[in-house]
């Protein structure tokens, strides 16, 4: 819509057009607020904080796609930016009357397009600033803690050391939860931490109840059954995983050692406990020798245990 505009409106219109285009949104809002007072063109480039040539470069490509492809409009826009050039006298009287109406028209036409481009540019500026801050913060964070956990900060997430540690811990916890979900049957389709934890707790409780029930049944087994025979069967028949061909020989050694209380044998899994104290059959006698034989404190090396037993 074209309507006559007073000459007073021109600098305001020019200021507005020029204010619609800047990259940083903050300076854009500042420009809009100060456009009423910004009469001279020099304030515009001061607004952008750039020398005049760069300001014109910014203006022209920014303005050109936003505006409709109208060559004389581009000319007028160029002349408006030349409004800010250091020769204000010659362009200023000539542009105001002819481009005043067209400036108004251009303003009308360009407003939505410019607003769109401005918002796009503003968003780009914001995210550029934010990612710049991110990178800066990440760089600072890396400089501050000179090592350990190299976690890549994701976009939009804070990068100070506290949140990084929190995130690493959360990832560890999630990994363990995955492991547990695999162990517990029927847990992979459940989602949500509390339900999974409930399932895990139920499973542990059911297994413990099963142990209780089976121990009751084993207690009721006919005492004619010889568990010792089965014990011998196990130790002679079972193949230890690492031993291979020499398994039988080592097993005989092992059996001898267990029954005679000697602890020097090559196998890894029993040695961790047997070396400590466990030379007697487990648990249930009240004699003090077996009591001290079960000293499994980490200071309980073998010679100390032997000393204890002999001193008794």
């Amino acid at each position: 819509m074209r309507h006559p505009s007073s000459p007073l409106e021109v600098p305001g219109a020019g200021g507005e057009i020029q204010a619609l285009v800047p990259v940083a949104s903050a300076s854009g809002s500042a420009a809009r607020s100060s456009s009423g007072g910004g009469r001279s063109g020099g304030s515009f480039t001061a607004l952008l904080g750039l020398p005049t040539s760069q300001a014109m470069e910014l203006l022209l490509p920014a303005a050109a796609p936003a505006f409709p492809a109208d060559p004389d409009l581009v000319d007028r826009a160029a002349r408006f930016s030349a409004f800010a050039s250091p020769s204000p006298s010659s362009p200023s009287p000539t542009p105001p009357p002819p481009p005043s109406s067209s400036a108004a028209a251009a303003k009308r036409k360009a407003d939505p397009a410019n607003r769109v481009s401005k918002s796009k540019a503003a968003k780009k500026g914001k995210t550029a600033a934010a990612s710049g801050e991110d990178k800066d913060g990440g760089g600072d964070g890396d400089d501050e803690k000179p090592a350990y956990v190299h976690v890549r900060a994701r976009r939009g997430q804070a990068t100070d050391s506290h949140s990084l540690a929190e995130r690493a811990r959360r990832e560890k916890i999630n990994a363990r939860m995955e492991l547990l979900k695999e162990l517990v049957p029927g847990c992979s389709k459940v989602s949500g931490t509390v339900l999974v934890l409930d399932e895990i707790i139920n499973h542990v409780q059911s297994l413990q109840r099963q142990v209780e029930y089976l121990s009751m049944r084993l207690a009721a087994v006919n005492p004619r059954v010889d568990f010792g025979g089965l014990d011998n069967f196990l130790t002679t028949e079972v193949t230890w995983p690492d031993m291979g061909i020499n398994g039988a020989r080592h097993l005989m050694q092992l059996q001898q050692h267990f029954w005679h209380g000697d602890l020097a044998h090559p196998l890894q899994p029993p040695s961790q406990w047997e070396k400590r104290a466990d030379t007697h059959p487990p648990v249930f006698s009240n004699s003090s020798s077996s009591l001290f034989g079960y000293d499994l404190a980490s200071s309980g090396a073998q010679p100390q245990t032997g000393k204890l037993k002999t001193e008794l």
């Binding site: 811990r169 916890i173 363990r176 939860m177 492991l179 547990l180 162990l183 517990v184 509390v194 934890l197 895990i200 707790i201 499973h203 542990v204 409780q205 297994l207 413990q208 099963q210 142990v211 209780e212 089976l214 121990s215 009751m216 049944r217 084993l218 207690a219 087994v221 059954v225 010889d226 568990f227 089965l230 014990d231 069967f233 196990l234 130790t235 028949e237 079972v238 193949t239 995983p241 267990f258 899994p269 029993p270 961790q272 406990w273 400590r276 059959p281 487990p282 648990v283 249930f284 006698s285 009240n286 009591l291 001290f292 079960y294 499994l296 404190a297 309980g300 204890l308 001193e311 008794l312």
Partner: protein, 193 residues
């Protein structure tokens, strides 16, 4: 009540098929032969010694002890289980050792060099460390809601952080499952003869 992984040995005499089945079951996880060894040893001992009335309780404790022995001593739950077994045994001390223990826990740091007092001090130290650990639970206020129930279930879970609690729970679950399979196999083996 079902068993999830490899089936228990079939309920026959100890013949070739049951031997193969047992070997298959034993090879499924590395600690199962150790488990079977310890548990069977304790079972044979219980059968000779304990009267019938308290056998269930005794067998259950034997099951947990053999589970703890078959596991790696790096695991907190196995240390806690064996510590419980040891504390239970030391509760039924003879009179003189009990007096010594009381005296030693009253005057905590003094180390008398007599052998009985030294061994009693070791036991008391085990009891004391568990008592000292109680007022300092590491970082337990921010746990998810079911964590305290899990702590009660898993032995030694009270003094752990949530992260290591989950790891211990996984290992405890594996070991429990192996124990249940073993016991189920034994029951099947001996109740159908």
């Amino acid at each position: 009540m079902d068993i999830k992984s490899t089936p228990p040995p079939p309920p026959h005499q100890i013949t070739n098929p049951s031997r193969r089945a047992f070997l298959a079951w034993a090879a499924a996880s590395p600690s199962k032969p150790m488990l079977a060894f310890h548990f069977l040893r304790s079972l044979s001992r219980i059968q000779g010694v304990t009267p019938v009335r308290r056998r269930t309780r005794t067998i259950r404790r034997a099951a947990y002890s053999s589970m703890a022995r078959a596991a790696s001593p790096r695991r907190a739950w196995s240390r806690a289980l064996l510590g419980q077994a040891r504390a239970r045994r030391s509760r039924t001390l003879t009179g003189r050792a009990l007096l010594l223990r009381r005296r030693v826990t009253a005057a905590a740091p003094a180390p008398p060099s007599s052998p009985a007092a030294r061994s009693a001090r070791i036991i008391a130290a085990g009891g004391e460390t568990s008592a000292a650990a109680r007022p300092l639970p590491p970082r337990q206020v921010g746990d998810p809601p079911r964590a305290d129930a899990l702590r009660r279930l898993v032995p030694g879970g009270a003094g752990m952080e949530y992260c290591s609690l989950l790891e211990e729970t996984a290992d405890y679950l594996r070991s429990l499952r192996a124990q249940v399979q073993l016991m189920q196999g034994l029951v099947d083996l001996f109740s159908c003869q």
